[in-house]
């Protein structure tokens, strides 16, 4: 993976830059020694690493504004970072870029039960929002599996998903407003602190969510809170074939039932989990569905009955249903342990993240199996079946010559197949550096140029998180000219570089 060329003149100025940034954020909040920078060299995509120029930890919007203005004036690149759990390299440092972390901005600023929103700083952990509003009977619904660690700022940058997207949507369906700072120092509030606040303006709240830190630094987030469902039950449905399990997914949804979560695991994952947890799953079960239903008790009980009837009609081999919170958690244990369990049976795992239309599940599973033979690598499947979001796990051994390259090529071919089947390259992990060079599979040059021009409206000097998302630099000046040559320059106030 080729990253932008390192500007050695910036690297040589490390100490001078550190001194100036210390004036803004305070002596101890600029980390410049190698020992202090080392822990930041990677995010959740461990295959890549780079030591950041400096790690800068501001405490407030004003400090971020001054840091960004300094970076723009001195042409220093900036990589934003929350907790560094990105699985696609979104927070991968660059050697000539400061790493701008939000760890110190971790306050819940306001909880407004009347409007069902909370205004929080970007460094607040996802799970702590629900904890802080639990006494009001409210919660923040998006629950990426990293929720105990990942920050809301990072969730906004990646438009994080989780198991409840099928019914409740992604991060972007749960944010009503943002405060962001541009490289030029503009502090912008988009949307506001209630439902509908982003209406009748360009939905920059929506467009900033999932922008992977390439447009602006998020300094405040207003999240939407919803009443916590009273009742939640889960069915564990074991099928004797992957096809039968896939068909059951279609039938549940086709019957008008939208579960809160609908997860799929194949036999390899079931075995790995069972050996870790010391369980003995029925031999005939080749694929497992976990179907979670939530709402009022009457509603949930009625839906549990209906799902059970549907599954029986599809020849389900093994059914377990939770009758208490403890039983529910026990049934979920297998799914939550899946990635860890696979880690115990393989040297290395490469998890990828494409989405396909639900009905194409049997087809993509066949493709993955064929690719496994082609590359001589084992795989296991564990995914959000309800919304067609796949997380194939490719098992490899990085110590073995060529294995890493094979695993990456295997993953890339799966993603290409997803796009060919009408799906997309990433359902929830983001593009980052991982899938950057695959963007051309999904988007035409025109589509990519349009997205890059959008970036140019925010960051024309391309200092914010360069080398991510797009296979080529934006070259804002050229892009702007592409089809407007010979015309009067409108908006003369746009910064041009």
């Amino acid at each position: 993976m080729k990253m932008p060329e390192i500007d050695t003149s910036i690297v040589n100025r490390r100490e001078e830059i550190a001194v100036l940034l210390r004036h803004i954020v305070g002596q101890e909040w600029v980390l410049d020694s190698e020992a202090e920078r080392r822990p930041y060299e990677s995010d959740g995509l461990m295959a890549y690493s780079a030591l950041p120029l400096l790690v800068v930890l501001p405490s407030c919007t004003e400090e971020i504004r001054q840091v960004l203005m300094y970076c723009q004036a001195e042409h220093v690149k900036v990589v934003p970072r929350g907790s560094g759990t990105s699985l696609s390299g979104g927070a991968l440092p660059l050697e000539d870029a400061i790493l701008l972390g939000t760890a110190r901005m971790n306050e819940i600023l306001q909880i407004d039960a009347a409007n069902r929103v909370a205004r929080v700083q970007p460094g607040v952990q996802n799970a702590s929002i629900s904890e802080a509003v639990a006494h009001l009977g409210l919660c923040y619904m998006p629950d990426p599996s990293s929720q105990a660690i990942s920050t809301i700022g990072g969730n906004v940058a990646e438009n994080s998903g989780g198991i409840h997207c099928l019914k409740y949507g992604m991060t972007s369906n749960h944010i009503t407003g943002l405060e962001v700072v541009l490289l030029n120092g503009d502090v912008i509030r988009t949307g506001g602190d209630f439902i509908g606040a982003s209406d009748r303006e360009f939905d920059l709240t929506g467009a900033l969510i999932g922008s992977e830190g390439l447009l602006a630094m998020v300094t405040e987030v207003t999240v939407r809170l919803v009443p916590k469902p009273i009742s939640t039950r889960v069915l564990s449905l074991g099928f004797s074939s992957v096809e039968a399990a896939s068909q059951c997914v279609g039938s549940i949804i086709g019957n008008g039932i939208i579960p809160a979560g609908l997860e799929f695991m194949d036999r390899k994952v079931i075995d790995a989990v069972s050996s870790m947890l010391g369980q003995e799953p029925p031999k005939e079960v080749q694929a497992l569905l976990l179907c979670e239903l939530d709402g009022t008790p009457e509603e949930v009980d009625s839906l549990v009955e209906r799902v059970q009837t549907i599954a029986k009609g599809m020849g389900v081999a093994d059914v377990q249903i939770s009758h208490s919170e403890e039983e529910r958690e026990a049934l979920w244990t297998s799914r939550k342990a899946a990635f860890g369990a696979m880690g115990k049976i393989a040297h290395d795992i490469y998890v990828t993240d494409g989405t396909i239309p639900r009905g194409k599940l049997p087809e993509i599973l066949k493709v993955i199996d064929e690719l496994s033979h082609k590359y001589g690598l084992q795989y296991a499947n564990c995914f959000h079946a309800g919304d067609g979001n796949l997380h194939p796990m490719i098992l490899f051994d990085s110590a073995r010559e060529g294995d890493t390259e094979h695993a990456e090529a295997f993953g890339a071919e799966i993603l290409k197949a997803c796009v060919d089947l009408g799906g997309v390259l990433s359902g929830e992990h983001g593009i980052g550096v991982e899938k950057r060079d695959l963007m051309g599979l999904q988007f035409s040059d025109v589509d990519l140029a349009q997205q890059q021009r959008f970036k140019c409206a925010f960051d024309p000097a391309e200092l914010l998180n360069p080398g991510k998302v797009f296979p080529t630099p934006c070259r804002c000046v050229e892009l702007g000219k592409m089809t407007i040559h010979g015309q009067n320059i409108r908006f003369a106030d746009i910064p041009r570089f």
Binding site: G196, A197, A207, G256, I257, G388, D447, I484
Partner: protein, 401 residues
């Protein structure tokens, strides 16, 4: 009363293919003209009037491209009538969860003339927004032609998609100022099995807003929370809708009444009666008959909604649990109230938009209340990136171009 001068009918361009649409954009660039984008034409009165010198009629892009009920997805051409889409979905027991309003009648047009392109361009939402979001929460993908005459696509057909910037969100609600949409892919959902509505009589606007807000904090899945009041903030009608599995409706109603604890008279309506009640709220039927009056639309925190609405004095309709409120006002009142009302709205963290008014008044007062210099300047830069020559709906949304 200012009577606007009769304006000459503008030149109308009606492309039927994407190539013709691209040609239309290039033609405008060549001859210095610009377009007002229309399809059903029912929302031309909504927002700042377009300064386009000609009309770009997109109703030629009509029809359902595919509809896969089991996949919960439909792809339609942008000029497709809402009535056609809703009929197709209804046949399979599905619907658009964001409950798009039909603003035809409130703007003096026929019912059922609106198209999906207009609904998406304006990011509309009905009472169910409190639980199901607005158009942008259901749009999965878009195709169109930008102001550079480039054919593009964004998003896709799956709910989970974080590939590249979410341009579909940006374009939804951009009032046709960035691109002319040709196709729209939407998420659809099963229609609720049953519904019922609790109606409370006698709450004033302040008490009603309190009840609306409180109801939405309860775990009973309220899918509509509205109040008709205003005019001195005296007694009005407050409505709460419950939808879903039929067996769950009565227990939820019981729980709702238990928790709200009020002393007002109530009654419950169900089925088609409940549907008609919410259709009237959704479409602003109370304001359709009297076309002469103006309508303010305010978006604000619920705690400020009643105060803002009552300062205007006219009949008011609160929706979205009190975060949206429409208030009737006369032409003269709008002129005298606008500045003070908008100052108040800003202080509350909201906005006061002139939702319906004569064109001259909308131009004079500005339909949309500006929010901040920095936001306006960034918006102008974005507009310039999509439509550098300002060909598409110049002036709409109040953004220069």
């Amino acid at each position: 009363m200012n009577i606007p001068r009769q304006e000459p009918s503008p030149h109308v361009v009606r492309p039927e293919t994407i190539d013709e649409l691209v040609d239309a954009v290039h033609t405008a660039r060549g001859n210095g003209s610009s377009y007002e984008l229309v399809s059903g034409g029912t929302k031309r009165g909504l927002g700042t009037p377009s300064a386009g010198t000609a009309v770009l009629d997109l109703s030629g892009f009509s029809g359902i491209e595919f509809y896969e009920p089991e996949e919960l997805v439909i792809k339609v051409r942008a000029g497709t009538r809402m009535s056609e889409i809703q009929a197709a979905l209804s046949e399979k027991g599905q619907h658009l969860a964001f409950e798009p309003p039909d603003y035809g009648p409130v703007f003096g047009h026929d019912r059922l003339a609106d198209t999906i392109g207009g609904v998406v361009a304006c990011n509309l939402a009905g009472p169910r927004r409190v639980i199901a979001g607005s158009a942008k929460d259901s749009v999965l993908g878009l195709e169109g032609v930008n102001g550079r005459g480039e054919v593009f696509k964004c998003g896709g057909r799956t709910v989970k998609n974080v590939t590249g910037y979410d341009m579909a969100k940006l374009l939804t609600g951009s009032f046709g100022t960035l691109a002319a949409l040709t196709s729209i892919t939407l998420k659809v959902l099963p229609r609720p099995e049953g519904e019922l509505t609790l109606i409370i009589s006698g709450a004033d606007d302040y008490s009603a807003c309190h009840l609306l807000s409180k109801s939405l904090q309860l775990p009973v899945a309220i899918s509509g929370a509205a109040h008709s009041g205003g005019i001195g903030c005296a007694k009005g009608l407050t409505s709460f809708r419950l939808e879903g599995v039929s067996a769950s409706l009565r227990p939820r109603l019981y729980q709702l009444k238990e928790h709200l604890k009020f002393g007002y008279a109530t009654h419950v309506i169900e089925g088609s009666e409940s549907q008609a009640h919410w259709r009237d709220i959704r479409d602003l039927s109370a304001f359709s008959a009297d076309q002469k009056s103006c309508l303010w639309r305010m978006l604000a925190p619920v705690g400020d909604a009643a105060k803002l609405a009552c300062s205007i004095g006219g009949e008011a309709l609160y929706d979205w649990g009190g975060n949206e409120v429409f208030v009737r006002a006369s032409y003269e009142d709008v002129l005298s109230q606008a500045q003070r009302l908008r100052d108040r709205a800003v202080r509350a963290g909201g906005v006061a938009d002139l939702f319906r008014a004569a064109k001259a008044l909308r131009l004079d007062v500005g339909a949309f209340q500006p929010k901040s210099e920095a936001l306006a300047s960034l918006s102008a830069r974005i507009k310039a990136m999509f439509d550098p020559a300002g060909l598409l709906n110049p002036g709409r949304l109040g953004i220069s171009g």
